[in-house]
């Protein structure tokens, strides 16, 4: 287990999540993509903490990442609810008001 190896796995998770967030049509699936991306960031943060600077302070950054994950999920579900209520759809293609 080396820093490079863990970072590679984190990069793989991030790229998979990016693919999902870009390619999925259903809002909940887009959120899953973003979750996988944040998952990769969390893993990379943990690896950098452990291999480079294992001080107590560094862990607080991981707490921030966890909080970001929670906020993303809650707001994502709220937006999905609004779109579902107004369009009766859960697809991203139904929400294009801001499109050019």
């Amino acid at each position: 287990m080396t820093l490079q190896l863990v970072l590679l796995i984190a990069a793989a998770l991030f790229a998979i999540g990016l693919y999902g967030a870009l390619s999925q049509q259903v809002l909940v699936m887009v959120m899953m993509g973003i979750e996988v991306m944040i998952n990769g960031v969390l893993l990379a943060g943990g690896a950098l903490w452990f291999f480079l600077a294992p001080t107590p302070d560094g862990q607080t950054l991981l707490v921030v990442i966890l909080a970001a994950m929670t906020v993303e999920m809650a707001m994502g579900f709220a937006v999905a609810t609004v779109i579902h209520r107004s369009r009766n759809s859960d697809m991203t293609d139904a929400a294009t008001e801001l499109h050019g």
Binding site: V6, I16, M32, V36, T60, T70, V71
Partner: protein, 192 residues
């Protein structure tokens, strides 16, 4: 032993993350995502971050359970289990994802990482608590209002029609005779 465990959890994490977007039903996708989070949480525990790893696993398993409830709410019981293709713009997304992976991997492998500075505290969890309640309290002070604002914002977005919609910003709008409830196409509250 720890090397074997690390490889096992890594393969599970990446494979199940990929499975999220390969399987063709949303219920399976959310279980695959939960599995990926559990594997990443286990790797984080291996990195001696016990608290963060366990919290990740607990939080994400609960989150996936909630996600399954939302999926059933939006799509009904059957579509969540029914196979379907939910992707658009596949090729360009794949190209961008591969490019980002190559970029990040190159960074991970080519950057001359510095030497390790310091050693983990004897009790990592206690030291996290002490720094959150001590020198890094600003993190706690920022996260708390952000989470509170999230609760309010998501309630405002998800709430269909509240008393402020019926009675105005100062809650003083009344019906035609000046005393009764205002006319409203969608009734709400008690006795609706």
């Amino acid at each position: 032993m720890s090397v074997v465990l690390f490889w096992f959890f890594s393969i599970v994490a990446v494979a199940s993350a990929a499975a999220v977007f390969i399987v063709n039903s949303m219920a399976r996708a959310s279980y695959a995502l939960a599995l990926s989070f559990i594997a990443v949480g286990a790797i984080i525990v291996q990195l001696e971050l016990d608290y963060i790893g366990v919290i990740t696993i607990l939080m994400m398993v609960m989150e996936m359970a909630i996600m399954a409830v939302f999926m059933v709410m939006y799509m009904g019981m059957n579509p969540a289990l029914m196979p379907m293709d939910m992707r658009h713009n596949k090729h360009r997304s794949a190209i961008i994802a591969v490019f980002v992976f190559v970029l990040l991997a190159a960074g991970a492998l080519l950057i001359p990482w510095p030497e390790r500075m310091g050693v983990p505290a004897a009790n990592v969890t206690a030291s996290l608590g002490e720094s959150l309640m001590g020198s890094k309290m600003l993190v706690m002070l920022v996260i708390s209002p952000v989470l509170f604002a999230t609760i309010i914002a998501s309630l405002v977005l998800a709430n269909p029609r509240g008393r402020y919609d019926r009675r105005g910003d100062n809650l003083d709008r009344r019906g035609a005779d000046g005393r009764s409830e205002p006319e409203d196409p969608i009734r709400g509250g008690l006795g609706r």
